[in-house]
């Protein structure tokens, strides 16, 4: 490790020119892809020599630009003014100065290109902006870690003098939780069925539509169409449907498995000062930091299969500086595939103890009415109505109806049975979900606002809803006993207004 002092302006790794090169190429590609697509189709009509010359020209220009970018990019720490300073730009020179105490996070990331050539990117997050303001694209790992330590310790030393002694030990410690490959496989094959199914459905529909469009254009396809029709009519419907369902299910499993492994490969959690450092990813390594005081909502999700396999998913929502909803969603951090022990460790780190479920609140049976209407009564009436008035062929496939009814009925029933609110002095826990059972945990002092609502036709039944807003998202409980709900709201308001703890 080079004991470089960061007070002298220095450049990135020379090999990092490659990163700049691919970055610029990517930018050009993104800007010009419609033209490129046209060129590919016209490939045969074009002069190959000009094309080759043009290609070489572009590559060399981009190469030169990348090299100039590398030459002009320097960074150093200005000790006098406590600032981190970056000079960059080829034609438009710019100087970026960041006050050290404004630095919130320093992340070390690695994209695929960076992984191949063995360099790292260093991103600096500052208070008061949503975007990552500064990114050093290519430095060696040792240098990145050293710079990060330096920046963070300086930042701490400037803002809180008391903690500076602690901050010096900011070296990467050994990970205390590492999610095993087996856990990832377990999670991969047991989660996100609905999302993958939706993706597959969308994919199939677009493909199907395109094929139909093609078929309309050619008469040869008509024959195939007719053949398919007779094929299906020969009572093969049931059989081919079964095969299709099995195939779709298998495909979902495989997609999920690959996505989970690529996204979360080698998931490690390291404790650093008072925060958790997560790093994961197969193709590109990502680093994120969880600060317990910034955590607003912790959600645990587990389904029946995962319970049997002893794995569960964490989703942690932190308060974000930005005010838009989208950003909030983005800042949800997932920890896949924890077992019971790891779950308890993480909970203890986040809350200081394992949250217990308090007094239970159930929803009113009316909670079932609307879903029943929309998913059972209206579809059944529509199908029967359609069958009688327009096309009675529908009745040939009527045997699918009970399957659908049982499936939806079970989902609704379990969704209702699992919908619960647990409240005790320290925690508000909402349980929900039919198959994947989520438990969302909020501490009362993180509440920003409370909204109570009641439809006028629910007044006599004395039921109503409550929505708790935190800086990391909302949590609602619908159609509970309104007297109880109001009691809870009064309690929470009391807690928020008397607490000495900050929400962040």
């Amino acid at each position: 490790m080079s004991k470089s002092d960061f007070n002298q302006p220095q450049r990135q790794s020379l090999i990092g020119v490659l990163v700049m090169f691919t970055d610029t190429l990517q930018k050009i590609g993104r800007a010009l892809w419609p033209i490129l697509v046209i060129w590919i189709f016209k490939f045969n009509e074009m002069n190959k020599l000009y094309l080759a010359l043009g290609f070489v020209g572009v590559v060399s220009v981009v190469g030169i630009v990348a090299y100039l970018q590398y030459l002009n990019f320097t960074f150093y720490i200005d000790d006098q003014n406590d600032e981190f300073i970056i000079h960059k730009g080829v034609l438009n020179k710019s100087k970026i100065a960041i006050q050290l105490h404004k630095i919130q996070q320093v992340n070390i990331n690695q994209s695929l290109v960076q992984k191949i050539i063995g360099v790292h990117a260093l991103d600096i997050d500052t208070a008061g902006s949503t975007k990552k303001e500064v990114s050093i694209r290519a430095i060696s790992h040792d240098l990145a870690v050293a710079l990060k330590t330096k920046l963070l310790s300086e930042a701490k030393a400037v803002s809180v003098t008391g903690e500076s002694s602690e901050a010096i030990h900011t070296n990467t410690e050994k990970p205390f939780i590492a999610i095993s490959f087996l856990s990832l496989i377990k999670i991969g094959i047991t989660s996100n069925y609905v999302r993958s199914f939706g993706l597959l459905l969308a994919f199939f529909f677009t493909v199907f539509e395109n094929i139909q469009n093609l078929a309309r254009n050619s008469e040869a396809m008509d024959k195939v169409d007719a053949e398919i029709e007779t094929y299906i009519n020969q009572n093969m419907a049931m059989y081919s449907m079964m095969i299709l369902i099995i195939a779709v299910f298998f495909l979902i499993l495989v997609i999920n498995l690959f996505r989970t492994i690529i996204k979360y490969f080698d998931f490690r959690i390291t404790k650093q000062n008072h925060s958790l450092l997560l790093s994961f990813g197969l193709l590109s390594t990502k680093n994120t930091i969880i600060k317990p005081e910034k955590v607003q909502i912790v959600a645990l999700s587990q389904n029946w299969l995962q319970k049997k396999m002893n794995v569960l998913n964490f989703k942690i929502k932190q308060a974000s500086g930005s005010e838009t909803e989208k950003e909030n969603k983005k800042s949800a951090i997932e920890i896949p595939g924890c077992d019971e022990l790891e779950k308890d460790t993480i909970l203890k780190l986040l809350f200081g103890q394992i949250p217990q479920k308090g007094v239970m609140l159930k929803p009113n049976f009316r909670k079932l009415l609307f879903p029943t209407l929309f998913f059972i009564i209206i579809p059944v009436l529509a199908i029967i109505g359609y069958g009688f008035t327009a096309n009675d062929k529908v009745f040939d496939y009527i045997f699918f109806l009970p399957v659908y009814l049982i499936f939806v009925g079970l989902l609704l029933y379990f969704g209702f049975r699992n919908y619960r609110l647990f409240v005790n002095e320290q925690y508000i826990i909402r349980q929900s979900g039919a198959w994947d059972i989520d438990n969302e945990i909020i501490e009362p002092h993180k509440i920003q606002a409370i909204k109570v609502s009641q439809f006028f036709w629910h007044k006599r039944a004395n039921i109503g809803s409550v929505t708790i807003t935190t800086a990391g998202g909302d949590l609602s409980f619908h159609l509970g006993n309104f007297t109880k709900v109001k009691e809870l709201v009064n309690l929470w308001l009391y807690q928020v207004e008397t607490t000495k703890e900050n929400w962040m």
């Binding site: 005010e323 838009t324 920003q448 606002a449 909204k451 609502s453 006028f456 909302d474 309690l491 308001l493």
Partner: protein, 178 residues
Amino acid sequence: MSFTNDTINIEELPKFEEVSLLPLHKDYWKIILITNFVFLLVMGIGLGFFLFFSEEASGYWHFLLLGIVALILLSVGFGKLSFKKRGYAFRQHDVLYKSGIISENTTIIPYSRIQHVALHEGFIARQFGLASIQIFTAGGGNSDIEIPGIEKDKAQDIKQLLMSKLTTDVANTAVENE
């Protein structure tokens, strides 16, 4: 250090549902009417043009007239109802705002969670000397409160009050942190 840990009697906590809410300024009702009528007028003019140029539709003009009259009555009725349903209160530690016809919503924001306060004066509202106060939290759009129809002087006082609560709160927490 004297440490006490008394049980809280939930029954005896102050109840938000029993707070008597202040109604909005009665001139705000006029503002609701005016905005509704402007909207209907724009729609009516559009329809008028449509009737004027379309031969087929002009046969049904009496139905359309009936529709417009019904719309006006509805907008007046619902406007009145929504005006009556709204109310606000500033308690010692939080602010309440109630609104809604079909679904009655009460939003409560503790002063300690307020991020900033804005005062708006619409064009029509200014003619009546009214303003609205918008209160923001870190929770984002869904949880913000906008209380319309407050006299401008009063609105400014409220804003001052909230701002002073904000700064004292910040000062308090700063002291606690040290």
